[in-house]
């Protein structure tokens, strides 16, 4: 499981994807919430309209009953208008009584819409159901007394159900005033037309609508969940596809890189082989000479021994030994190119001293060649760990090389610059000859590599120099940026400055 999460984190752009998913889900929920709010508003508006209609109908009924029935018949001696009409022989209900009865009937038929008529002045037989009993009734009475033409409503939970309580004012009409004022048990007898007699309240149930709402909500949520899941599924598929693509690409790149590296390796090996080939042919030539001489002398030696010419024999023998020495030297010089780093007979010397000594030794050759020599060295004493003689040999060798390169020059100039840095010092030897071609710049330090006519220098000089500088923990290389001729740059670690 942890592995999966780790994988998840590694998906490219996972943060962006997760953010988008989050925004999408948030958007969906926001939409849901908005729809829900809208629905509630619709429900409430519908309930309000319905309650208004119902309330108006009831009031109108009362008014009509009062004017068309009660007014017309109440002057008859036998007929009485009473709340208790069912008990009397020829009685008709009071308007309020009848409208309440109507409300009851409708309520029981329609399941839930209740009607109430109340005021702070109930007739005595109605004190229980007619007085102001709860906060809503009180609030409604206060509000409607001040705003008789308006309506007062609240969406509340009443007796455990969600309902709309809708209240309007019950206003004294001309037909009502006389009766109310004249009635023997009237609580108030100075009613005027236009007074607010009481409150007509409709309690409109919201159950059915809520049920629908809930159903609708449920459906909406299911749809939304399906939608989100579908989107997530598509996303996951896309991401995996993308991952796979990326992985495939990575694999291709890795393979190609490996191929390139392989080719590089082969190229390097080929280069090395070529270098070795050159070195081998150089070695071969160098060693073939003494070998050839040795072979001839051995044959002569054999003859001398057979002829008992002892003196000659000894002389030929030492010549053979000389050839052996010669071969030995060549091999040793070859090894010197790959010298181990380590101080051997190194001492602390001033680099300026070493350079000066080398310059002095080279002076005869320089003057003979009519070459100009410029030497620049820092004033402060730079000390290095070095084998003085070997280092001198290097500098002399490089000066000699420059002189050879300048053979065909009319104006010959060699410049020796010693430059001190923080931890190292540079010796640059530059000439105004034809320079060292780029192709061979990294080969010239190989043993036996030479561009000179064979016989003039064995090509060991620069490789020896390389070995010596390496022993001094320094570097020697061609400065390719110098275009006015050849510049060889030696860098050595500084021991100290004075």
């Amino acid at each position: 499981m942890n592995n999966r999460f780790a994988q998840l984190r590694n998906i490219h752009g996972i943060k962006l994807i997760l953010s988008l998913v989050f925004i999408f889900i948030a958007g969906v929920f926001f939409l849901l919430g908005y729809v829900q709010t809208l629905q509630v508003k619709i429900v409430q508006t519908a309930a309000l309209e319905s309650a208004k209609l119902y309330s108006d109908a009831l009031r109108e009924f009362r008014t009509i009953y009062t004017s068309e029935v009660v007014e017309r018949i109440r002057s008859h001696p036998d007929i009485s208008v009473s709340h208790d009409y069912s008990q009397l022989k020829y009685a008709i209900p009071l308007p309020a009584t009848l409208s309440m009865k109507l409300g009851e009937h409708i309520g029981s038929h329609l399941k839930g819409a209740e009607t109430y008529l109340y005021s702070p002045f109930p007739f005595p037989w109605r004190t229980e159901e007619g007085g102001l009993k709860d906060d809503f009734q009180n609030d409604a009475w206060q509000f409607l007394r001040a705003n008789p033409e308006a309506y007062y409503f609240k969406f509340v939970t009443y007796k455990g159900r969600k309902v709309l309580r809708y209240a309007t004012s019950d206003i004294m009409r001309p037909g009502c005033v006389n009766c109310h004022n004249d009635h023997s048990q009237t609580p108030k007898s100075n009613w005027k037309v236009g007074d607010v007699r009481g409150v007509l309240e409709i309690i409109h149930p919201l159950e059915k609508v809520n049920e629908q709402n809930e159903e609708g909500k449920r459906g909406l949520i299911i749809l939304t969940v399906i939608l989100i899941l579908t989107v997530l599924l598509c996303l996951i598929i896309l991401v995996y596809k993308f991952q796979r693509n990326t992985r495939d690409l990575e694999n291709i790149v890795r393979d190609r890189t490996a191929q390139v590296k392989e080719t590089e390796k082969k190229l390097n090996t080929a280069k090395k082989m070529a270098a070795i080939g050159e070195i081998s042919s150089g070695i071969a030539h160098e060693i073939n000479q003494p070998l050839a001489a040795m072979k001839i002398t051995s044959t002569s030696l054999r003859k001398s021994i057979e002829a008992a010419k002892t003196t000659r024999a000894y002389e030929q023998l030492s010549r053979i030994e000389g050839q052996v020495e010669r071969i030995d030297t060549i091999i040793r010089q070859l090894n010197t190119h790959n010298a181990d780093i380590g101080s051997q007979a190194h001492e602390v010397v001033e680099i300026q001293e070493v350079v000066n000594a080398a310059v002095n030794q080279s002076k005869p050759a320089i003057e003979q060649n009519e070459c100009e020599l410029e030497v620049n060295m820092p004033n402060e004493s730079i000390l290095i760990m070095a084998d003085v003689l070997e280092l001198q040999r290097v500098v002399i060798n490089l000066i000699t090389n420059s002189l050879h390169a300048l053979e065909l020059n009319k104006n010959k100039k060699i410049c020796l610059n010693v430059i001190a840095h923080d931890n190292s010092v540079c010796i640059d030897i530059e000439d105004n000859g034809s320079g060292i071609p780029a192709e061979i710049q990294d080969k010239i330090f190989d043993p036996f590599y030479t561009t000179k006519e064979v016989g003039k220098g064995t090509g060991l000089g620069l490789s020896l120099c390389y070995g010596i500088i390496k022993k001094h923990e320094g570097t020697i290389k061609v400065d390719a940026s110098y275009k006015l001729g050849a510049r060889i740059s030696i860098t050595l670690p500084i021991h100290s400055k004075r």
Binding site: S281, H285, N288, A292, I296, V454
Partner: protein
Amino acid sequence: MKKILIIDDDVDLNISLTEFLEDEGFQVFSAHNGKQGLKLVDSEQPDLVITDIVMPDMDGTEVVINLGGRDTEHPPKVIAMSGGGRISGKDYLSFVKNFKVDCVFEKPFEVEELLSSIKSLLA
């Protein structure tokens, strides 16, 4: 006594070969480069020239070409030898065989073989 000229820049080889051939009864001259060698050809008129290839100041190939171009009654026999250099001895010798060369030897060679070649050439 037949005259042999040895041209080789390798001093030790020169000495050894001269000693050996003198022991065999030849008169031997030696030079260290092509220029010197051709001068001695003019002055001593050897019967045989044994020349190395890779030398400074005119190499063996040039010597061979030069000798081949001469219009003389008795041109000397020519033997070329090589220990290689930039390329192998074999390669140098196979090139020089395009010119007037009687025999080639790769260094190091068996000197007895050289001797028998010399004897048959000067017979």
